[in-house]
Each structure stands twice: as C-alpha cells, then as structure tokens.
C-alpha cells in the first residue's frame, strides 16, 4: 500500500490482558516511530527504530511496553498486563531516514475496560 498501515483500527481489551498492535510502514522507509496520543493531547513519543534496532526507547512508560521490528519493516508494539490508563490512540509513523518527513498511520484506538 501507499501509506502507513496500522491494525487493528480499534481494540477493546480487558484489564490485565496482553495486546499486540501492528504497524506496516511505507516500503523502503528505514525509520519507524511509535507514539501514543491521549485525549486532548498531542502525540507522545514512545520509541523509534532505525532498521531492526530500537534506536531510542526512552519514551516507553514502563516495562510492560515492548516493541520489535525483526526484519526492519513491520513493527509490533506489545503491551502486557494492560491497565485502564493505557487507553489511548497508538500512532505509528515511518520516514525514509531519521529527521525527514514522517508519514503517520491512522492509529489504533486501544480501550482497556
């Protein structure tokens, strides 16, 4: 596809469950970013990948959050033992290289009940 694709678009899960959110970046983009957007706020940086490696994961809120990008393309954000405070829209973006224009997906709305 032409753009960044995120699946699922919506996810409702029960408190304590494990969830995976998927991001398919634009083909050929080496940099991939995850952000979290809570209601009424701007996106908040979580982690970014350059190729397969996490170049900066300083935005991950705690060790329940983990992300991988094993082949340098698709990335999965994993959240263990979900809490109601994890409810937000999780945005993925990709760019050709770091600090060039980033293209955002439409996000996954996660609701923890």
């Amino acid at each position: 596809g032409a753009g960044v694709s995120q699946t699922p678009s919506n996810k409702v899960t029960e408190k304590g469950k494990y969830v995976e959110l998927r991001c398919d970046p634009i083909s050929g983009h080496t940099a991939l970013y995850w952000y979290r957007q809570s209601l009424g706020q701007g996106p908040e940086f979580l982690i970014y990948f350059q190729g397969t490696g996490a170049a900066d994961d300083s935005g991950l809120p705690n060790d329940r959050f983990f992300a991988v990008r094993p082949e340098g393309s698709v990335s999965t954000l994993k959240i263990q033992r979900t809490e109601r405070g994890d409810s937000a829209v999780y945005l993925c973006a990709s760019s050709r290289t770091v600090n060039t224009e980033a293209f955002f997906g439409q996000g996954t709305r996660l609701t923890v009940v």
Partner: protein, 115 residues
C-alpha cells in the same frame, strides 16, 4: 530538553477570514519544525516543515509558516480559511543529533470555522 507550546487550545474563525495559529518551541540548537493537521478519525497529515534556509515556508492547502529564531516561534498562517480547514493542528519539533527521530508535539489547537 525540547518542548513545544501551542498557547491557543481552541480558535474560532469565520470562513474567508485569515488565520494564525501560534507555536513556540524550546530547543538549544536550530530545530526541525513541523505543522500537522488531524481531522476526526484521520491520521496526522504534514502541512509543512522547516529544516533550514528561507524562514517563510509554504505548505499544502494554502498554509504557510514563518520561523522566527529570535522569538522561538513557528506560527502557522492562512490568508482565507475554508470550512474544510476545521480540524486539530499540531506543531512539532525534532532535535538534531541528540534527539534524532524523536518528535515533540504540542497539545494542539482545535480550529472551528463559522459559516
């Protein structure tokens, strides 16, 4: 640390009127600056960016922004607003070597357009 402030949470303008959305940033070196628009249910769309050079940058949909280093500002402007411009607007800054790839966003300004 870099930060972005969008002082106006909500702005209402009449269709056809001019628009200016304010953005102030904090960053030690020359930043990369961006404006994004987000419509309900849509992803973030880049309107324009400043990396270097001419401080007045043109973007899509008739928007422009001016980088003013002395004021640490990067305000977004449009001379004549259309009803379809109603959306939320985010200013973002990306640092250089120390924060490469790590955008900091403001909390956004919601634009309402009156007919």
């Amino acid at each position: 640390a870099q930060s972005v402030t969008q002082p106006d949470i909500h702005i209402t303008v009449s269709e056809g009127a001019s628009l200016e959305l304010r953005c102030n940033y904090s960053y030690g070196a020359t930043p990369y600056l961006f404006w994004y628009v987000q419509s309900p249910g849509q992803g973030l769309q880049l309107l324009l960016k400043y990396f270097s050079g001419d401080t007045l940058v043109q973007g899509i949909k008739g928007f422009e922004a001016e980088f003013k280093r002395s004021q640490s500002s990067f305000n977004l402007r449009k001379p004549s607003v259309h009803w379809s411009d109603a959306a939320e607007y985010f200013c973002a800054v990306v640092g250089g070597n120390t924060n490469a790839g790590k955008s900091t966003f403001g909390d956004g300004t919601t634009l309402t357009v009156k007919p």
